[in-house]
C-alpha cells in the first residue's frame, strides 16, 4: 500500500518537530498547564451558565460540551501545524530564506503549510477529543452513523476553511512584510466559537460565518453531533471549503510571482 506523498511529507516534518522538541521537555509541562487552564475556564464557564438556565439558545449542556471539545480540537490542530508553519513562512519571506522552499521539487504551498510543527500542541488536540468523547457518552440521544458521517464531513470542511483563511492571511506577507499581527485577529475572533454562533446578533453572526469563518469550524460540526445539521448547511460548508481552498491556491500563485527573493 502506498502512502500519498503529502502525508509522507507531513510525517517527516512531524518527526523533525518531535525530535526538536524532545530537547525542551519543560515546554511540555508548560503546555499541560496552559491546556489545563483553558479546560478549567471552559468548563467553569459552562458550569456557571448552566447553573442559571437549562438551555442556551436551544443547546443542551452536553451539546455545548461537545462544542467545547470541537473548539479545543480545532484550536489544537491549528496551533499544532498551521500557526507555526505560517509564522515560519512569514519569517522566511522577511529574511529571503523562502528561496530554499521554492526551489524544492515539491508543491510549494504544501511545503509552506506543514513546514513547522509545534508538537506539544497535540495536548490540546487530545484534550478536545477527550472532552468530545465525554460529551458523546453523556448525550441522551445516541449519535447514529448518519450523524457521525455528517460530523466527519463538516469537521473536515471546517478544517479546510480555517486553513485556507489562515493561509490567505499569511500570503499577504508577500505585500506587507510585517503581518504576524494579522494572525492574532483570527485568534481573537476564534474565542467566539466556544459558543454557538446562533446566539450572536446578525452582524456578528455574519462576520463569524463569512469574514472570519469560525462558525464552519466549530458550530457546524457540533450541530451535526446534536442532529440538527440541515443538508443545506452541510452543502454550504462544502462549497465554501472548496471555494476557499481554490481561492487560497490562486492567491498563493499571485504572491509567489510577486516574490523577488533574497538576492534580487
Amino acid at each position: 500500500m502506498s502512502v500519498p506523498p503529502q502525508l509522507r511529507l507531513f510525517g517527516v516534518f512531524l518527526k523533525v518537530g518531535i525530535l526538536n522538541e524532545l530537547e525542551y521537555r519543560v515546554n511540555f509541562y508548560v503546555q499541560l498547564l496552559q491546556s489545563a487552564v483553558g479546560l478549567v475556564i471552559g468548563l467553569a464557564g459552562l458550569g456557571v451558565v448552566f447553573s442559571h438556565t437549562d438551555t442556551l439558545g436551544g443547546w443542551s449542556p452536553n451539546e455545548l460540551l461537545a462544542l467545547l471539545g470541537i473548539y479545543f480540537l480545532v484550536q489544537g490542530a491549528v496551533q499544532l501545524v498551521i500557526e507555526p508553519s505560517m509564522q515560519r513562512f512569514m519569517e522566511d519571506v522577511r529574511q529571503g530564506t523562502l528561496d530554499f522552499t521554492l526551489t524544492k521539487p515539491e508543491d510549494s504551498q504544501l511545503l509552506v503549510s506543514v513546514g513547522q510543527v509545534q508538537i506539544w500542541k497535540l495536548v490540546n488536540v487530545l484534550l478536545g477529543l477527550a472532552v468530545l468523547g465525554v460529551a458523546l457518552s453523556r448525550l441522551q440521544t445516541a449519535v447514529g452513523p448518519g450523524e457521525a458521517l455528517a460530523f466527519g464531513v463538516a469537521l473536515l470542511a471546517g478544517g479546510v476553511i480555517v486553513y485556507s483563511f489562515y493561509f490567505f492571511l499569511a500570503t499577504t506577507a508577500f505585500w506587507f512584510v510585517r503581518v504576524e499581527n494579522v494572525l492574532v485577529i483570527f485568534q481573537s475572533m476564534y474565542q467566539a466559537g466556544r459558543w454557538p454562533v446562533g446566539i450572536y446578533p446578525w452582524w456578528l453572526r455574519s462576520a463569524l460565518t463569512f469574514i472570519v469563518p469560525v462558525a464552519f469550524a466549530t458550530t457546524v460540526p457540533a450541530e451535526a453531533i446534536a442532529g440538527r445539521l440541515s443538508p443545506g448547511t452541510l452543502l454550504l460548508a462544502l462549497a465554501v471549503a472548496a471555494a476557499m481552498l481554490a481561492g487560497s491556491r490562486w492567491f498563493w500563485g499571485v504572491g509567489v510571482r510577486r516574490y523577488s527573493g533574497a538576492s534580487a
Binding site: 519543560v26 508548560v30 498547564l33 496552559q34 487552564v37 478549567v40 475556564i41 467553569a44 464557564g45 456557571v48 451558565v49 447553573s51 442559571h52 438556565t53 437549562d54 438551555t55 442556551l56 439558545g57 510585517r178 499581527n181 494579522v182 492574532v184 485577529i185 481573537s188 475572533m189 474565542q191 467566539a192 466556544r194 459558543w195 446566539i199 450572536y200 446578533p201 452582524w203 456578528l204
Partner: protein, 277 residues
C-alpha cells in the same frame, strides 16, 4: 532651601520625567499602529462574547437572571470593558525578559525608580487605545442598548474608584512581575493570575451570579477591587456606605501591595546583582 521648596523641586523633577517618558512611549507605540486595531478587536470580542452569552441566558430564563435583564448585562459588560481597559497591566509578561536580557541594569542606574517608567508607559498606552476604544464603545452602545442611569454621586465616585483600582492592579501585577528575579518560568504564575482575574474580578460574569463558595473566595481576595467594584458602583448596585467601605478596602489592599512590592523589590535587587556579578 526650605524643605517645602525641596519637595516642590522633587515633584517638578518627577513630572518632567513622566512627560519625557510619555513622549518616548508615544513614539514607540506609533510604530505599532496595526497592533492597536488588533488589540481593539480582541478587547471588544472578549466583552461581546460574555455579553451575548449572558443576555441569551437572561432571555431563556424568562427575561432576567439574578436581577439582570439583557440591557442590564449589556451595561455590566460594557462598563467592565471600560474599567478593564483602564486598569489592565502587562508588565508581568515583560519583566522576566528584562531580567534575563540584562535590560534592567541601565534602568537601575537612573535616579528614578523604574516603576515610574512602567506607570508612564501604561498610561500612555491607555490614552492611545482610548482613541480607538471610544468609537467602538459608541457603536456597541448603539447595538446592545445598555441600561445605565447612574446618579451624579455614582459617576463622581466612579473616577476615584477606577483610579484606585488601576493603582491596586498595577501594584499587584508589578509585584508578581518581580518573580522574574527568581525564576525564568513566570508563565505558570501569569496563567494562574489571569484565571483568577477572569473569575474573581467579575470580568467573566457578575460576581453575584457565581456559586456561593466562589463568591466567598472573591470577597476575601483583592481581585474584585480591581474591576468589579467600580463597575457595580456605576451600575447603581452599591449604597453610599458600601461605596465608602469599598474605597477603604481598595486603600487597604493598595497599602498591602505597596509594602509587598517594596520588600520584594529590595530582595529581588540583591538577588539580581548576585546573578549579574
Amino acid at each position: 532651601m526650605s524643605p517645602l521648596a525641596t519637595l516642590g523641586g522633587e515633584l517638578a523633577g518627577l513630572w518632567a520625567a513622566y512627560v519625557a517618558r510619555f513622549k518616548v512611549a508615544i513614539g514607540v507605540q506609533f510604530q505599532y499602529r496595526a497592533s492597536l486595531v488588533i488589540w481593539l478587536v480582541w478587547t471588544v470580542m472578549e466583552s461581546v462574547v460574555y455579553l451575548v452569552v449572558w443576555s441569551t441566558v437572561a432571555q431563556s430564563s424568562g427575561g432576567q437572571v439574578g436581577g439582570y435583564d439583557a440591557a442590564g448585562f449589556a451595561a455590566y459588560f460594557l462598563v467592565t470593558m471600560v474599567v478593564n481597559q483602564l486598569t489592565f497591566t502587562w508588565i508581568m509578561h515583560e519583566f522576566e525578559y528584562r531580567v534575563r536580557q540584562g535590560q534592567l541594569s541601565p534602568l537601575l542606574l537612573k535616579p528614578l525608580h523604574p516603576i515610574h517608567g512602567d506607570i508612564a508607559e501604561n498610561v500612555t498606552y491607555k490614552a492611545l487605545t482610548s482613541v480607538v476604544l471610544v468609537p467602538a464603545l459608541v457603536l456597541l452602545c448603539w447595538a446592545f442598548r445598555p441600561a445605565l442611569q447612574p446618579q451624579p454621586w455614582m459617576a463622581a465616585a466612579f473616577l476615584p474608584a477606577v483610579l484606585l483600582a488601576f493603582l491596586l492592579r498595577f501594584l499587584s501585577g508589578w509585584t508578581l512581575a518581580l518573580a522574574g528575579f527568581w525564576t525564568t518560568r513566570v508563565l505558570a504564575i501569569n496563567q494562574l493570575y489571569y484565571m483568577a482575574m477572569l473569575f474573581l474580578s467579575g470580568q467573566m460574569v457578575p460576581l453575584s451570579l457565581l456559586p456561593g463558595p466562589v463568591q466567598a473566595l472573591a470577597a476575601v481576595l483583592p481581585f474584585r477591587w480591581m474591576v468589579a467594584f467600580p463597575v457595580e458602583l456605576l451600575l447603581g448596585q452599591l449604597t453610599p456606605e458600601e461605596t465608602l467601605a469599598g474605597f477603604g478596602a481598595q486603600l487597604a489592599w493598595i497599602a498591602v501591595h505597596a509594602a509587598a512590592a517594596a520588600v520584594v523589590w529590595r530582595a529581588g535587587l540583591r538577588r539580581y546583582s548576585a546573578v549579574g556579578a
